[in-house]
Symmetry: C2
Subunit: 376 residues, 2 copies
Amino acid sequence: MQPLDAFLARVRPQQTPVLVVRRAALMANLAAMQAACDAGGVRLRAHGKMHKCSALARLQVAGGAVGLCCQTVGEAEVYGAAGIADLLVTAPVPPWGWRRLAALAGASRVSAVVDSEAQLALASAAAVAAGNTMGIHIDVDPGMMRAGVPPAEVGPLMALALALPGLRVDGIQAYCGHHQHLPGGMERRTAALAWSDRLAALVAELGAAGMAPRQVTGGGTGTFAIDIASGVYTELQAGSYALMDVEYADCGGPDGHWPFRPALFVAASIVSARHASHNVCDAGLKAFHTNGPSPRVIVPDGSTWRSMGDEHGAIMPPGDSTEGALVWLQPGHVDPTVALHDAMLVAGEDGTLERWAIDARRFTPPIMVQPGREQR
Amino acid sequence: MQPLDAFLARVRPQQTPVLVVRRAALMANLAAMQAACDAGGVRLRAHGKMHKCSALARLQVAGGAVGLCCQTVGEAEVYGAAGIADLLVTAPVPPWGWRRLAALAGASRVSAVVDSEAQLALASAAAVAAGNTMGIHIDVDPGMMRAGVPPAEVGPLMALALALPGLRVDGIQAYCGHHQHLPGGMERRTAALAWSDRLAALVAELGAAGMAPRQVTGGGTGTFAIDIASGVYTELQAGSYALMDVEYADCGGPDGHWPFRPALFVAASIVSARHASHNVCDAGLKAFHTNGPSPRVIVPDGSTWRSMGDEHGAIMPPGDSTEGALVWLQPGHVDPTVALHDAMLVAGEDGTLERWAIDARRFTPPIMVQPGREQR
């Protein structure tokens, strides 16, 4: 792979601000995570919420992933239509979503997490009505207080799932979002292992009750090596590893270093260059979500970015003050930044560019309402 | 208009999270701003960067706006294709943008701001090559240090614009983004009037040099009444007034109160309700940009929202703990929040819902690159 600055110098997008994926880094990241999962005997189920791009999802499956994780019903519908044959919805499904997932389950293998009796009843009714089988994972709360049931309540919920028609009980999910960005090394390892010990005990309890989960799915980019080595997870749900961001770069890998390279950048243009203190580029709050760390300026090296509003950013110190000069930045937090864009350009080391649609980003299906008509 | 809570209780989106526009409030806001501009003899050029929705843009023009402001070349192309006949690009155009704007100028009346000699040269060359006339506004920096030239440099730049072929010098722009959210009442008024005095002097200087600007465009929602009364501006560029947000609600109108009502909301569903402290809804960082104030919870009244990640938010205290119960929120900062969505539902007092595409949000034209081909 060329040095990053030499590579970026060759990429010439014809519009800015735009997401640019370094294909060689992406492919290396996909291969590195697949190899780690294969070596550990763990299935990779790449998380599609990060990139929302079915072209990238197909690459992950072609590379060995068993399927995709989705965070929303809409993502599942887009990935299903794109030919992804095995889908898991990793967040609780709102009541309106079960009929759509049950319909999708006719073409793809579809599973979803549940953390309540009411969700199981809706899932079962929707599956029976559609004449399809709906997969279920019982969602376990590892202490995030976001979704999922405490370990002690998994058994009863799984027993109910086993008793309801139209459902296929695939296993359990335990996602530790609160561990992913803990300081690399001991702190993250200690937290992840403490939880995987508890999870192993839960799996044993379920086995003793004749309900051994076929799949234990969870984990993420920040804890991937610890999760794979734990021996508890049968599936890894990592997402960010494919493109990476400043937040993950700065917190370090589970063993301190990362086997994953930065693969996603934003190209911006200098649009006003009248000040000694800074230049103004065309990447602002609509090019970057700013909930996480600020985007990192790669070119010009050593400069920083500051928001100057919706469509403007300051580059300080200014660097090349030629209008139209390209500025290269790495997003602070990849997921919500990608959701602001509708396509990514994929750049090869040979100078080729392809356009990949971010086709699974939040969307409201046209069939959702009938314009002008009274709602039902 | 019904009370807000009674109105929201009737709206039943079939998917969440989703932007919902209260049509009656939107129409009242459009009418109030148009009436204020008409009474002051100032043209309203509504800013399309806020909503990125050509259906809404057409309503603004039908209601009396002379045209739309755009912040990007892509917005101008979408609004032009939607039949908006008069467009002004209010941010410096990157070098790659001039050819596209010059092509657009064949169908719509197109103008763009400039703050450098290089931009004028590119604009002129593109206009001549396209055989169309490109409108120009000289951008004046009111002290933001973002774009625009100091008042003393406007004359020479305008003289150059007048000398170049293919250009039509429409006037000057002076946008005071740094005034819009100053505390309502005296502080904002003092800052806005100090600037409009300086601007009036510039207009007089240009007139004395035989270059009196036909249009002086600028102003915004936060200073609209002050800008209209100043007698300097011929065009008001307000955007947020149409939908409003928490940031504008909290800073108050230019006279303390607002004639504009909240018209944009996000409907979210409770997806997990297992905790006494909070419920979890399906609106997170991909439903709200969080650069400004947090979204305000309207229903349940008195609760607050906290991000629980990309697709989750906590509602504290929980309110109705029924899964699927709707939560209603007002976005903190409207512009970048709208850019996260691809459509808004427009709800009538009579219970009707329409879907309006956010068709001018950031987009990369398919013609931008040729997949797999070597770049030119």
